[in-house]
């Protein structure tokens, strides 16, 4: 594969550095523009196995609200996000819910858990 230089924006933190990334396909050759070293790690991962945090909701029975927000505990493979959303759409849990309660363990065999983002008290409490 030929050597190319692409512009990428690091999304690791809100600074959002614009990076000049020289790479040969999946092989990283050089990065410019990162304020900190995490930018480098981001680019390496982005070229080989891009991942994102995924946040959505699942249904909850008997809760203060009909839904409880959930989130992956670590970044999840980007190409499989819609598959994950599909799996979560089938889940319904019971109130009360506690923050960090596991809602889907080892999602799609990736080793990433999905947990509740907040407490959800029952309607009675």
């Amino acid at each position: 594969m030929p050597e190319t230089t692409d512009e990428m924006i690091c999304i690791t933190c809100p600074v959002g550095c614009t990076l000049q990334v020289t790479h040969n396909g999946e092989t990283l050759l050089h990065v410019d523009g990162n304020t900190c070293s995490r930018g480098l790690g981001y680019v390496e991962r982005e070229l080989t196995d891009p991942r994102r945090m995924v946040a959505t909701t699942v249904r909850v029975r008997g809760g203060l609200h009909p839904l409880v927000p959930v989130c992956t505990v670590e970044p999840f493979p980007k190409p499989r996000i819609f598959e994950l959303l599909g799996a979560l759409r089938h889940i319904e849990i019971e109130a009360p819910v506690k923050m960090n309660q596991v809602v889907l363990e080892d999602a799609l065999g990736t080793g990433v858990d999905v947990v509740a983002s907040r407490d959800m008290p029952g309607t009675g409490s």
Partner: protein, 424 residues
């Protein structure tokens, strides 16, 4: 509930929660939070995406988790809360009138008040889009609450006007829930939200962003059927011949937030016409003795971490005021001013003596994007007080520069603290 409190906090978003915690920790005994919603947490409860807490916790949390940590602490410290209660009026003498379903009408007296009412969204009326008034036009925040808290969708085929963070985040969220987001239109030549949201909300899902574009007309009688988009020139004048009809059933507006200050004004709190929020000093004291303000009610933040920091500072000063009364400053406060390429600076006044106890962070927004290394610098007339380098400065991202103890001597002798952001 009592009739007298040391500190009453109005609003329970991250600003209010932090203020209440800091006030209690600083020694105020009776602290009350009044919140009109049925639970604590404010707008974060509907911001289910992650990205919160990177500065304060060094962790990447979803909005509700960020709020929950502070809510748990509020309960642990025994801070009183009055939920489902709307504050109707506050006076200069710090009397508070509130009404709630539970307790009816109440009148309270506070030694100090922290205003933490947050902000509200600009609506269609405020940006004047011509056309019919069909259903299907909502603010992005309203849609966010429906989708994330209440569980229903605003529509199936969506156009978003405005590239603010809430708009971009909703573009991804609605895509996750099966809607088709046709495009995001932005009238400015640059993004108005964070660049990371452009990547992870729009680019990742191939949602087109059109800069220098706006909605010329909304089409549809009962329900939105399409919008007519158009390119605009530098003066925001539509460019003839660039019109395009985009079929859709929903138009979401993400066109800015305005600090919520009706209550503040009743009490005589003076507002900065640029920010729409109160004039404050470094302790977030407004011009009315004993009334403090923190969070989006002061100016619109893009990162919640800084809201929390401001809330801590405001709560601490409110507690000090409640316990000791007004302090008389030995050195008069120094005004901050917006210099080259700076739209505004918060706080508006800095008491130099504060620098012997804590750092003071000056927060600002730039006028024009500078995609090159910049100096964020503070001058007193010709004298440089402090400066810091940054890789760039963008209007969508709040900028700050910190005054430290070592700057005390220079600050003390200053007539003004003029902040400018210029190329390196």
């Amino acid at each position: 509930m009592k009739e007298h409190y040391d500190v009453v906090v109005i609003g329970s978003g991250p600003g209010g929660l932090a203020a209440a915690l800091a006030a209690k920790r600083a020694g105020a005994d009776d602290v009350l939070i009044i919140e009109r919603d049925q639970e604590l947490g404010g707008i974060l409860l509907q911001c289910i995406h992650n990205g919160f807490g990177v500065e304060i916790f060094g962790e990447d949390l979803p909005g509700p988790s960020y709020a929950q940590r502070f809510i748990n602490e509020v309960h642990d410290l025994g801070i009183e809360t009055l939920l489902d209660a709307m504050v109707l009026e506050i006076t200069r003498e710090r009397t508070i009138y509130a009404t709630s379903a539970q307790t009816g009408f109440s009148k309270l007296q506070a030694k100090a008040i922290v205003l933490a009412m947050g902000c509200r969204e600009r609506t269609r009326a405020q940006i004047r889009i011509p056309g019919m008034r069909p259903s299907g036009v909502y603010t992005a925040g309203t849609a966010q609450r429906w989708v994330n808290v209440e569980g229903y969708m605003p529509g199936k085929q969506i156009v978003i006007l405005g590239s603010g963070d809430i708009g971009m985040i909703m573009a991804r969220r609605l895509t996750f829930e099966g809607a088709k987001v046709e495009r995001v239109l932005e009238v400015m030549p640059y993004l108005s939200g964070l660049s990371r949201n452009y990547v992870q909300c729009l680019l990742d899902f191939d949602i087109p962003l059109q800069l220098r574009h706006t909605v010329k007309r909304i089409i549809g009688r009962e329900r939105v059927e399409a919008v007519e988009a158009v390119a605009v020139d530098e003066q925001w004048i539509p460019v003839p011949g660039t019109e395009a009809i985009i079929p859709c059933d929903t138009l979401l507006l993400s066109v800015g937030l305005i600090p919520e200050n009706e209550l503040s004004q009743q009490a005589g709190v003076r507002l900065d016409p640029v920010t729409g929020g109160p004039f404050v000093d470094e302790g977030y004291h407004t011009n009315i003795p004993g009334i403090f303000a923190a969070g989006n009610v002061v100016h619109v933040y893009d990162l919640v971490d800084w809201v929390t920091e401001a809330g801590f500072a405001a709560g601490e000063s409110a507690a000090r005021y409640a316990m000791c009364g007004a302090e008389t400053a030995r050195i008069p406060p120094i005004p901050t001013t917006a210099g080259e390429n700076v739209r505004y600076v918060v706080p508006h006044l800095v008491n130099p003596e504060r620098l012997s106890q804590a750092e003071v962070r000056l927060q600002m927004r730039v006028r024009q994007p500078l995609e090159q290394p910049v100096w964020i610098q503070v001058h007193d007339r010709e004298t440089l007080v402090t400066r810091r380098a940054a890789r760039y400065a963008r209007p969508g991202e709040m900028v700050n520069v910190t005054l430290r103890e070592r700057d005390y001597d220079k600050v003390r002798q200053s007539k003004e603290l003029r902040v400018s952001i210029v190329p390196h």
